[in-house]
Amino acid sequence: MSAVRHLYVHLPFCAHRCGYCDFVTVVGRHSQHRAYVDALLAELALEGEVLADRLDTVFLGGGTPTFTQPDELARLLAALPAAEELSVEANPETVTPELARLLRAGRVSRVSLGAQSFQPHLLEVLERKAQPDDVRQAVYLLRDAGFDNISLDLLYGIPGQSAADLESDLADALALEPEHLSCYELEAKPGTRFTRTHGDELARQADAMEGYFETVVDTLTYAGYRWYETANFCLDPERVGGRDLRSRHNLAYWRGSDYLGVGIGAVSTVSGVRSRNLPGLGAYMRALAAGPAPRREIEILDEQTRACERLMLGLRLDVPLPLGDVQAALEPGALERLASKGLVELAANGAGDELRLTRRGRFLGGAVTAELVALASA
């Protein structure tokens, strides 16, 4: 068993739970931040033996990691194992000169800012606290602190959004010259408060979504970004002296590498076993305070399932997927059928055939994957 080289740490605390959010979050609870960090470190001590001596990546996600009490955040960062890439998610309004310095001191190498939009009316719909200028200021503060790998998250398909709104959001984001951009379609979950409030408008946005997606890809690639994953873009290496600015942590997921996750709701995948901590904060902290590992849901991934995931995730990337890795998951004949429609390309490589989606295939990646994948006999 090779050692795990990727670590995810979940910090669930937020100032406010946004209507569209479906992550494991906890509002406020300042008094529990300390105990939670204790629990995280306890879990890490329990599970850490699977980790390699030197990690490739650590990712602090949330929640709003930067909403965590600064002392506790600093304590956590100091206790984390060293890694080549240490990413932290941040909300723009939480970024202060102090925070930026704290992150630098904590060896953070990459900050992912949840900008979402630069339009006040859209930020309001999303229930985001930050104003457009907060986003800009956050970027400047991080730059001042020396960060040279900043990512911005943008959302599209927001109720009330127009095609022109999206274009100006992209222009505003590009003006900040981020190294990396993640552009997500707003996914409104059925039955949520957000969906109930914006039902009709969400349907209208859904109709416009394919145009939005094309706008995003066209605009960002034209601006010199590499469309390296379905929703992720980074500055082209040629423009930054060969630096690879892809999110290494996320690449690990998409390439099917093992990863350890700690914190409530965190998922780990190690040696064909996927486990997920239960999302309850109290139970998690009580369990770890008492000693044993918190309760988890376990899923065993057989070879077929792993090949299926490899295919599903690998096809999101702009690099070819070795056919040998996914052969077990392919439906016979599907590859040829899709190749003839110009959605998939097969290329011979010294080490064996490789599979990749064409540009049009990438826009239809979900449908192409569904056609390619064989249904497990179960």
Binding site: C183, Y253, C308
Partner: protein
Amino acid sequence: MELDRIRNFAIIAHIDHGKSTFADRILELTGAVSEREMREQLLDTMDLERERGITIKAQAVRVRWRDHFLNLIDTPGHVDFSYEVSRSLQACEGALLLVDASQGIEAQTLANAYLALDNDLEIVPVANKIDLPQADPDAAAAEIAQLVGESSDRVLRISAKTGTGVTDVLDAIIERIPAPSGDPDAPARALVFDSSYDQYRGVVAFVRVVDGRFETREPLRAMVQGTSFEAEELGVMSPVREPVGALGAGEVGYVVTGLKDVSRLRVGDTLTSRRRPAAEPLPGYKEVKAMVFAGIFPTDSDEYPELRDALERLKLNDGSLSYEPETSQALGFGFRCGFLGLLHMEIVRERLEREFDLDLLITAPTVAYRATKRGGDVIEVHNPAEMPVEVDLVEEPYVKASVIVPKDYVGPVMELANERRGSFDHLEYLSEERVLLSYALPLGEIVYDFYDQLKSRTRGYASFDYDLAGFQPGDLTRVDILVGGEQVDALSLIVHRSAAYDRGRQLVERLRKEIPRQMFDVPVQAAIGSRVIARETIKARRKDVLAKCYGGDISRKRKLLEKQKKGKKRMKQVGGVEVPQEAFLAVLNLDSERKR
């Protein structure tokens, strides 16, 4: 029993003109059923009949009135079942013609009254519902009198609902309808005018004894088919089965045959005794031929065996339903079914769905076409997809259609009939207000939303009926629907050349709306042979990918993918295009939506 104490009669009435209520009243007045036992519309036993207020299967009931035995042979009120009417009428000497005094005569009443006159039946005209404020008994009586050639004071005026005048009707039955004639001493002969299937006792035949006498346990033979069996039980319906030792000339009753196969005893056959057989059978009925056809497919192809069993069971009680297996590349395995008409089709469909809990896809109804192929072979085509491309001649069934409307609507009716290639036959004033229009029309035009159009253009005032009137050549053509360049067999249709473009266009437009966008452009075409007459393109999707996928939700995303894949497996593949069942359903419902 003495013949002159027996009266056999039927009731002819339009739907909703109160026949069942009237029959109930008779049962009550004659003491056949106590009020406590009285169920509304007792004679209509099937749920569907009760719900729709129509009688589908004829039934016979014996009641006593003033020392006479009256046999009421119930008849269905709808045109599709006129063959059942004619069967019932052959077992009777007289008929009550029941007309709603607030509505007047309807086209179906007319058709059935003519049938009765053709059978030399004594007609007792009755104007019903005189209690209704909008009833015009005098006008109704005048119309009826003119129809049957009687004076209008011979028209009885009653209210079956309140009971007013019903005893007068019973008296009139005895006075006006002749007693059955027949030879009680001749070799026994009985006409089978209906049958039903009892799962414990087998086929139960309803018979009218013409000559001689039948006794329980007697060995019998059906003269036309040659089937032999024993009369396990003889009896009369009063209104429930009541065994009797014997049935004599003039009587109406039932015979429990013990036969387990309905096809061995056909309605219209003559029963005789094997001990002293009659020399000649009674004149039978013409076998009715299905004229309207449709493919019936289970929505879930796994339900094919259930559909087959359900059809078999329906057929036990409905000899006029025919079916044979059909395979469609678009809809899978199913049956091509033959019906007497549209209502018959609707009833079969509803019974399949309701009594057998099946989800069905039904193709657009079509009629029986006769095609003369190059070389002279003549074939009958029940499925448009089977119409040969190269034909010398196509003939289609025609009907003689009668429409009765208030005179203000003559124009719209003529317009509709002309649009539907009708040729005018004659026009007749039934009264100052109401007109009978007679047309020759292709049956194929009637199965395509004719009723609905007629109703909407006459604000529901028109009543309509038709009789089959042979085949005539027509300039007909087969229109095929192609999706992704491949023909969808279930959607082919045969239409008059002049309507081909419009019908093709409609189907193509509907399909474009119903078929989800695919990963590539999909042409949807209507074609006559190799000539495309209408085309739409379903534009390819430009995006189909989940925006976000991170480490914490891989399992969920994978399950979504599996679900999506399973959904794809359920779709029908036509020309490499995934077509959801619902799309076919929507297109096929295009017709039935209009009809409702």
